[in-house]
Every structure is written in structure tokens, then in C-alpha cells.
Symmetry: D2
Subunit: 359 residues, 4 copies
């Protein structure tokens, strides 16, 4: 029921869960039917992200990240049915392989255009050099969509993205990021030391990569917000059930007004967050501008999660700290969510810009 605890102990178990998810089609939500997906909407993807995160944020991220790499390949490459990429897509869809996306570097967190991992032409292919860090899923990923700079000093216009395979020479995976808090996320870093990419590994050429990344980041912000909703929803449900069974001072927890108002407060803000996620997801499906809406949904939902998961943990008493409940795990994940795919600070700047333009 809560895969992540298992995940942390046993990579085999995660693979089992992953394959179950793949069999249910969760790696192919937005992938066209002809390539083995469901051609489903972004709203559908958001809902799945929310439900998966009820169980575990890290697992939800793994599934959605793998999905996104598939989606990038089939959307932007002219696949041949028997080609190398088509075979890779099949592996990813069936969860034989796990994928993720790598933008962040040790010295370039939120400031994406300043990345320094370099790709230089090398024969018919490319030579990749650099380091990526804080990459969710990178501790287990077989395939990584890596953003690089192709032209020193070119900034946004020189950025491109390559598929990198972890079992090829020049890929050096670092030890998992040293924190219990992030362990269920498989957050890790890696070095590219003379990694040779083939020409067809270039998914987004310079001139297109930055723009496409910015476009897809609105989606990411929206489903991360949805995941926060899923985590709070699960915590609220666990606490509500606990409050109907556990007594304090001779009455059920739920019969203490202060106790039940704590849950009511969480329920109110959770509803608000869900509506913001739904509105942003609908706008994405309708191809509207969503920079502002997705930013607002993410700031609201992540703040809501950090606040209310901590409050609901406290509502459980010391039991809230036990590993048999999801509170500690979800709380760490919520903190990560405030940083991933645009930190709260960066998003407040985006929202301020929209605000200023409007007046």
C-alpha cells in the first residue's frame, strides 16, 4: 500500500510496482495510441499523479518522469517502428527501463539558462562533459534526458537535450544524495565524462530545447501541485479515521473542538488547492497560457502541503512520527516539492510579472 518504505529497502520491489503501473498504462498516459499509449488528456495525467502520490511522492515522480521521457521521444522524433528509439520506447512503456530528466547542476539551481554541461560535436555524434545534481530518480534511472549547453556563453539559445543511457561508457552515477528525507525519491547526481552520444540521441536541438522545456515546466508545476494534494488527502484520511477510534481525556479525539478544526482547516485548503490544479490542467489541455496559473497552483499547493501535513502529523500525537503512517515521509516530500520545477521564490517572481503586466 505504501510502496516507498519498501522502495527504500529493496529495488526489486520498486520494479514490481513499476511494472504493475506500466501494465495499467500509467507510463503511456499522454503517449499516442499508435505508440502504445492512451492518448489521454493532461487532466487525466494530473489525476493519476495525485492518486500515485497518495501512496508515495517518489514513486509518483518515477512513473511520471519515465512517462515524460517517452512522451518527449515520440512527440519530437520521427520514430521508425524497428528503430533503436522505438525499441527504447517499448522498454520504457513496459517499465523494463526507468527514465528521468536532468536539468539542475551543482551551481545552477533555479537559474536554468546558466547550465554548464557541454556538448561538442565529435565525429557524427556528440561528446558530453559535465555534472548534474539533485536529479529526482537519477539513482535508479536507465535513461536520462539531459539538458546541455552546445555553445559556451550562448545562454538559452545554445541549450539542447540528449538521451543518455546509464550503461554506456562515460556515465558515472554518484552515490545517492545523502539524506533520508529524499531517499524514496532516488535523488542523485551523475557525471558525464567523455560520454559519446549518437546523432539520434539528440531529442531537442539548440534553439528549441529551452523553449520546449519552459513549455513543459508548466505541466510539471501542475502535476507536482496535484501530488501535494494527493499527499494531504491521504494524511487527512488517516487522521480522520484515527480520530474516530483514539481517545484522549475520556472522549474521542474527534470530540475535541480544537482537534477537529485542525482537520477542517486542512480540508478547506485542500479543496482550494485541488480546484487550482484542475483549472490549470484544463487550461493546459485547452492550450491556453498557463504560466501564471500553474505558478499559483504550485505555490499554493506546496505551501498547503508543508503546513497541513505537519499539522495532521501533530494531530496523531507521537504516532504521527511512526513509519507505519505516511506523515514523516509525505512531509519531507512536500518540502522537496517546494523546490523542484521552480522554487517558490522563482514562482513568486513569475506571478509578480503577470501582476505588473495586468496593471
Amino acid at each position: 500500500m505504501h510502496p516507498s518504505t519498501e522502495v527504500e529497502r529493496n529495488t526489486r520491489v520498486i520494479q514490481t510496482f513499476f511494472k504493475m503501473a506500466a501494465q495499467k498504462g500509467l507510463t503511456g498516459i499522454e503517449v499516442p495510441i499508435e505508440w502504445g499509449g492512451s492518448s489521454a488528456s493532461f487532466q487525466c495525467k494530473t489525476l493519476i499523479a495525485e492518486i500515485l502520490a497518495e501512496a508515495d511522492f517518489g514513486f509518483a515522480m518515477s512513473v511520471i518522469n519515465t512517462h515524460n521521457v517517452i512522451s518527449n521521444i515520440v512527440h519530437w522524433k520521427d520514430l521508425k517502428a524497428d528503430g533503436v528509439l522505438a525499441r527504447l520506447v517499448a522498454y520504457l512503456l513496459s517499465a523494463e527501463k526507468i527514465a528521468c530528466t536532468a536539468l539542475t547542476e551543482p551551481h545552477a539551481g533555479s537559474d536554468f539558462s546558466s547550465i554548464s554541461t557541454m556538448a561538442t560535436v565529435d565525429g557524427s555524434g556528440w561528446r558530453l562533459e559535465g555534472e548534474k545534481s539533485w536529479i529526482i530518480n537519477a539513482s535508479v534511472a536507465d535513461v536520462i534526458l539531459v539538458y546541455v549547453q552546445t555553445q559556451s556563453g550562448a545562454g538559452a539559445s545554445g541549450i539542447a537535450a540528449f538521451l543518455v543511457e546509464a550503461d554506456r561508457p562515460g556515465f558515472i552515477r554518484n552515490e545517492q544524495f545523502g539524506s533520508q528525507a529524499t531517499s524514496s525519491l532516488g535523488t542523485s547526481s551523475f557525471k558525464l565524462d567523455g560520454y559519446l552520444a549518437h546523432a539520434e540521441d539528440l531529442i531537442h536541438p539548440a534553439g528549441t530545447a529551452f523553449k520546449r522545456a519552459l513549455h513543459s515546466i508548466n505541466g510539471a508545476r501542475t502535476y507536482v501541485a496535484a501530488m501535494c494534494c494527493g499527499m494531504v488527502s491521504e494524511c487527512l484520511s488517516v487522521a480522520a479515521q484515527y480520530g474516530a477510534k483514539r481517545q484522549a481525556f475520556g472522549v474521542m479525539l474527534h470530540d475535541h473542538q480544537g482537534w477537529r478544526w485542525r482537520l477542517a482547516d486542512a480540508a478547506i485548503d485542500l479543496d482550494a488547492a485541488k480546484l487550482m490544479v484542475q483549472a490549470a490542467a484544463l487550461a493546459i489541455d485547452q492550450d491556453q497560457k498557463v504560466v501564471d496559473q500553474a505558478a499559483k497552483a504550485k505555490v499554493f499547493a506546496t505551501r498547503m502541503a508543508v503546513k497541513h501535513i505537519a499539522e495532521l502529523l501533530h494531530a496523531m500525537g507521537a504516532n504521527g512520527l511512526s513509519d507505519i503512517y505516511p506523515f514523516v515521509r509525505h512531509l519531507s516530500a512536500a518540502q522537496i516539492a517546494t523546490l523542484t520545477d521552480g522554487s517558490t521564490e522563482m514562482l513568486l517572481e513569475r506571478i509578480s510579472q503577470s501582476q505588473r503586466q495586468r496593471h
Copy 2:
């Protein structure tokens, strides 16, 4: 543009605005077309409430309250085209007369079923005795829908509602509630001292009044929430314009990160509140159960308004306190909104009940 300041000084001006609103059909939004209204949706009414409250909460309440009394009459009474009630409806629709609804009493705030204003049969009509207080709009209303108890000790089942006209004997209007904060709302109290109501003045007989009031209160909670959105929206807009013109320490206010984040925070929560209002209004139009949803929308929107109007006032510096801006006036109104049509405490109890039933 900001009627209330005028309202406070001059009753004639409010009548002018009121008639303008009536001419635009705002007193007849949900009233059937055959009775001179627009047969519009509740969603439409909510939107109008929001826009009116951008200018003034008290004025918005006056218009909507008048509308609601008309709506009660045409919905629940078998009107004859040339009857007394039809004539009254016409007066109200054209804003010749202003109306409001009176539930609260000096010693019965949120606990509606314990009201003690009595109606006893007197000949072919009824004799009304008692006192109502904190009634929004009562300082100017000509027609008041008054909730009474028909049978001492009967509680909810004995409650009925009568139309009371302020110019008939036995209606004694008290001085306006002594607070600058509530002055634009025309909040007042009145006594019924042997007021004789005709048989046809009985709009909701005992056995139906309480239930109908509970039904309509979900609507009221939703449009009060909408009004809070309107007030915050106006404050945000004023502050944003101010920040683009006023300097501090050599740069525009907007160029101070702390300053613009204050506005971004307000914009985020305002969006959330609007979505909650829209969702509740849609559910009302679709005849779904909305007790929980309307309660959540009101708690969220009123808290949001109290918090962010104060923050936006502060963003204006000392100018925020000036009467040429709406901050002080809207902030008082937001505090009133936390109490009217179900206090935050009462709504938290409702939300807790739904929460408990679900688990």
C-alpha cells in the same frame, strides 16, 4: 465609483445608485422573466455580487438583499398581477423600495433556531412582538422579511417568516448600530411592538421557513464569499497601480522584492477563493448538496480577505488609511463578512461534520 463614502453622507445618493442598479436589472437577476426579472443563474448572481462589492460591500448587500426578498415573494407566493404583493414586487424591482431579511436577535446570533420574536394569530392576521438586531440594511429598508417563532418552545418547526413594512404601526427602527465600521452597511436593529401582519404577509409558514432558510443560506454564504473576492480584487488593483507610480528609496515600490511578493501572495489566494466560489455557485445551479462546499468557500474567502486587505493596506504606506482608498472600508466589511450568514466557528463545525461522515 465608490458609492459607500457617499452613502454614508447622503441617503439620496444611495437611492440614485440603487435605481441605476435596478435599471440594469440587478434587483431581478434570479427573478422569473414574467415577473420582470432576468431568470438568470445563481452563478450570474454571484458574479454581480463580486463586482458590486469591488465598489462597496454595503451597497452590494443592499442590492442583493432587496433582490432576495423579491425572489422569495415570487417563488413562494401565488401572485396576482394586480395584487398588493405584485405591486410591492414592482416597487422593489425598480428600487422605489429597499428590502432586507432579519433573522438575528440580541441574544441569538449564530443559533438561529432559538429566536424569540413571536407571531400570534390575531383575527385574520398575526400580531408580531420582539426585537431584531445586527440586521444589514435595516437602517434604510422599507420592507423586511422577518423570521419569527409561532409556537413558544417549538424550535425549528415553529419558525415562520413575514413581510414587514417599515411605515406601518408597530415597527420601531432603532438608531443605526453605533460603529463607523458598519456604517456603510446600514446595519441596524428594530423592534416589533404589536405589529399587525396581514395573512398574505406570511411568506414562509411554520414547518417550511426553517428549511427554506437553511437552503438559501448556502447561497448567501457563497455570494458573501464572492463579495470578499471583489473587495480583495479591488485592493490588489489599487495597490498594483500605486506600486508602479510611487517610489521608496529611489526605486518604484514594485521594484522591492518584498513589496511585490506581498501582492503576489494576495493574487494567489484570491484565485483560490474565486475558484471555490465558482465551484459552489455551479453546484447550486445544478441543485447539488453544497453545505460543505459553501461553508468552505466562505471560511476561505473571508479569512483571505481579512488577511490580504490588511496586507495590501500596509503596502500603500500611510496612504492606505486614507478615505480616498477603499482599504479601511473593505477591511471592516471583511470582518463583518466573517460573522454574517454563519460565523467561521459555526462553519468549521459544519465542515467537521462532513469530514466525519466521510470517514
Copy 3:
């Protein structure tokens, strides 16, 4: 008991209260005994400010401001027992005259060194030209300590301060600042149009005024914080008494857990604010550096007041809005307190500077 409501209606009443305060020595707290004061400590002054503000922030400000002008005169001028200034001091001590201090100008709020009111030498005296705005107490003050620039473009080093008397030519008092919220403070603005100051009216010459003002502002921040404590203390006391008498849903308000926790939350933060004020006041009496401490006390106490006065108002239900209670009045005053003598934003910058120097 609550002078300000009276103050708003009747200037005579304020004079009565003022004279009562003067008779009790409140205009001479820190003034040396030989000049008719008490030679008391700053801690004592802070405590008096707190107690006066329980009744009314505006009245507290009037008394303390008058006190401060006296204190400036006797501290920095070589008084002759039968001189003009000594006579003025006597008038101020006995509250025959009311005083205040004027720094702020229409376009120079928090940025004190950029004031543009000019003083130019004129014969044996000075000619003053300019405008001051948002001056607490200026609507009633007879004597004003006005900060001016003596040398265009000189910034801080050119600033000086003169005593200005409201009944002399060239002093033009504007109408009271147009806001109900600030009316009990007598906040107003005035113009100096060719006002001729005598040589002895120069209290702080250029080169000393800015520094002395910065020094005294730490005291002002501390007693404004104390006044916020006084207001919250009074609101808490009123609410606690109300909760022991008023029922809701068949039990005393105090018997609702949510209700009494609201008061407990206020009591906790009030204690914290009081300790911060006491610590800063002690440090001032001990001549320690208090920039950081006074800034922290003011930010904490003003935030505390804005938050908890609003919460305690709500705890009273609709009665909280009535003018017979201090909530609405104290809430407006608390908002003013966040702006006066260094806005929250400016103080956060000061605190950040100390923080940075420490690490």
C-alpha cells in the same frame, strides 16, 4: 475610560484628559526634576505608554509626543529660568500646550534623509518653507519640532530641527487627514510658508539633528511596541470578561475550546511582545546598542497587535464592531503603528543588516 471616542467629538474633552495626565506627571517622565519632571527611567516611560494605549493609542501618542518635545528642549538647550523656552516648557508640562514632532513629508515616508522642507538664514533667524504630512498629533499641536534641510543636496548632514509655533504667521495647518481610522490620532499635515523662526528656536543644528533623531527613534520604536501591547492587553481583557458572560449554543463562550484557544494564542504572543519591549527598554536605560532589539520588538509587537486584535474582535461576534468596545479603534491604531517610526519593511532591512554582520 476610553478618551478617544470623546476626543473625536470634542477637543475640550481631550484637553481635560491631557491636563489630568499632566497633573500626574506624565508629560515630564524623563524630564529632570529641576525642570519640573520626574527624572524617571525609559523603562518607566515605556510602561506608561503601554497603560495609556490600553485606553487609546492616539491619546498615548499625544502625551508622549508632548513629553518628547519638552525632553528635547531641556536636554539640548541651555535654558534660562525666565527665558522664552523655559516658559514654553512650563506650558507643555502643564498641558496648556500640546506638542508633536514632524519628520515625514508627502514624498519622503520612510526615507528620512531625503526631506525637502528648507530652512535658510534670514537676518538673525531662519525662514522655513515646505510641507509636512501624516504627522501624528499635528491637528491639535500648538508646538511642533520640525525637521528641515539647511543645505540643498547635503542629505543627512544638512538636517536641522526647529521649534515651530502654530499661532505664528507662516504656519498653515491643513485639514485633518481624511480617514476615520486615524481620527483619534489627530494625524494631519501642515505647510510652512515663509515661517520665520528665531535663532533660539533651533533645537538641533545641522550636523547633530540627524544623528540625534536616529538615536531617539529606537526609543520611539520601543514605546510604540509597548503601546501595541497595551491595546492587545485591553482587548484580551474585554474578550475574556465577555466570554464568561455570553452564551452560544447553550454554553458560555469560554466553554467552547476553539473560542478559548483564540484567547490563549493572544495571551502567549502578548507575553512574548512584552518581554521584547522590556528587554529593549532596559537596554536603552543601560545605554547599550538597541537598533536591532528595538526593531525586533516593534516588528513583533505590531504584527502581534494587527493579528490578535482582529482575532479578538471576531471572538466578540458582531458586538466586536460596536463603538462601545475598543476593537475597531485599536485595530486601526495597530495598522498605523506598523507604519510609524520605521515601517515593518525598513525594520526588516535593519534586522537583516545586523544578521549579516554577525555571520
Copy 4:
């Protein structure tokens, strides 16, 4: 520098640290000089608790808990220099043995008087039966001061306290409480299954134990509050140093206004918490009533810690999650602090009682 990470991996290391602490006299702060302690004040103990918690809350708790058991023995027992207890005291003072106190049971969290672990007379000694849970330090403690019921149904008056040694028959230590969050605290549970206590193991007889526990709990609340100050202080210091070195968008973190205000906010509330701790500690040393003051200090300091450690973690970006920094560890500890020695809810009730008595 950060013992706990080591603690989690290696029990030997904790023993080394423990012995270092003992050598510096930290196990004997309040213990009389004739018994090998320092006869220092409670204020001194509070300060030490704060400093130890900068490094690790769990380690601070271990040292202080051991200290408290020693203090209980020497204070309440008539020690003979060559007796069994005197030898035990020597072992504890030198950290050869670690101690803790056990009140909580699986079904009696905050409601202390309802504990059900029983002590029945058995020959010249006592037979102990029952289970204790969520006991901080119990996973490593050699000596435990266990609170028991001596007379079924007697409630508070029947409660007594015995010294229990972990290496004697009938003491069954359960596995450490299953949560990463609590691992540095050594939180655990144990069973007493026919444990035979000697007559001299009875430290607090029935009739005195409950009262003495209530007395000492005010001290515990105060030093737990102090520990929260220590943890926030350390996080603030780490973040401030980081902000002076790390860049984002081309400037130092500290040069972003939103970033540095986050630290300023933490610094303000930290100062307030420290003053509340100091005031409560002084009152304890002066033998004043401190129930209300200690409760307020604990509620304020624990809320402050939960809020600001999370905010400061976020200020570090993804690095805040790394185990080389104390944020994740301190945040978990702060959550535990909200529950131990009186949950926030229970303390709000205490504060409400004082509030009510005062008015």
C-alpha cells in the same frame, strides 16, 4: 560537531560524547556539590540544554534526562556514601550509565493520571507489570525512572515512581520506535513483566509522585523550549553563512530581499522565544508559580521551531535536505518537541485556565 548522525550509526560514539559531556559536568548541573555536581541554577541548566540542542536534540535530551534521574535520587533519597544508590549516582554522573524517565503508555499519552502500569507489594519489594512507550532515550538507557500505579483506580494519588535497571530480569526492551524521525532520540518502548523492584528503588512513594512530577514538568517544558531555541539558532547561523557564499541569478542569496527577510523573521521570533525561556527559568529559580509561563514558553518556542526550521531549510534550496546540514534532523526533533512533556493542546488548556482565573 553534529553527534546525532554518528549516534544513529554507532552507539560507541554516543558514549564517547556522553562521557565528554559528563567530564564537563553536564550530568550534574543541579546536583549538589557534595554529591559530585555543580549546585548550579535552573537558568544554567536551561542554557546548557539550548547549547547541546544546537548540535542535536536527542543528545541534549539524553544528557538532561540522565541528569534529571540523578537529581531525583539525590534530592529525594537519604543516600549513604557507600550504598547501592550512591554507586548508581556515580555511574550516572560519569556517564557509565545512561538514564531516562518513563511516564507515557500506549493508551495514555497526555493524560498522565490514567497510567496503568501496576506496582504491587511482593515480599520486601514490589512487582512491576505493564508497558511504557514513546520514551525518549529508552533505546539506550540503563536506568529508568518509571511511573506506576500502586492502587487500581486510585488515579493521581496512587501513582509512585521506581528506579528500574535494564539489565535485571523482567525488563524487556522493545525494538526502537520505527521512525527515522525519532532515531536520534533513541525513542523506544519497553515491557515490565514481573520485574522485581527493591524497597530502596522506590524514589517517589504514592501520594508524592504525581505532585512532584507536575512540579518538575514545568522545568521540562522550559528546557524543551530552550532546546527549540538552540535548534533554530543553529539553523539560522548555517543559513546566514550559506547566504553570504551562495549565488542565485548572479547575486548572493543575501542580496535577495525576500531571502534575507526570511532570516530576519526567524531572528525576530527566536529572540522572543529566548526571552520567554529566560523569564520562565528565572521564575523557577525564584520558586514562583510558573505553570502559565512555562506553558506559554513551550507553545511559543515549539511553534516557532516547526515554522522557522522549515523556512530556513527552504532557504538553503535542495541543500537544506542534505544530511550534512542539521535542518531535516532538527525539524523532526521540533515536531517531537510539540508533543513531549505536554502537547500543545494540553498547554493551551492550561493557559486558558489561567486566563479565566485572571478575569
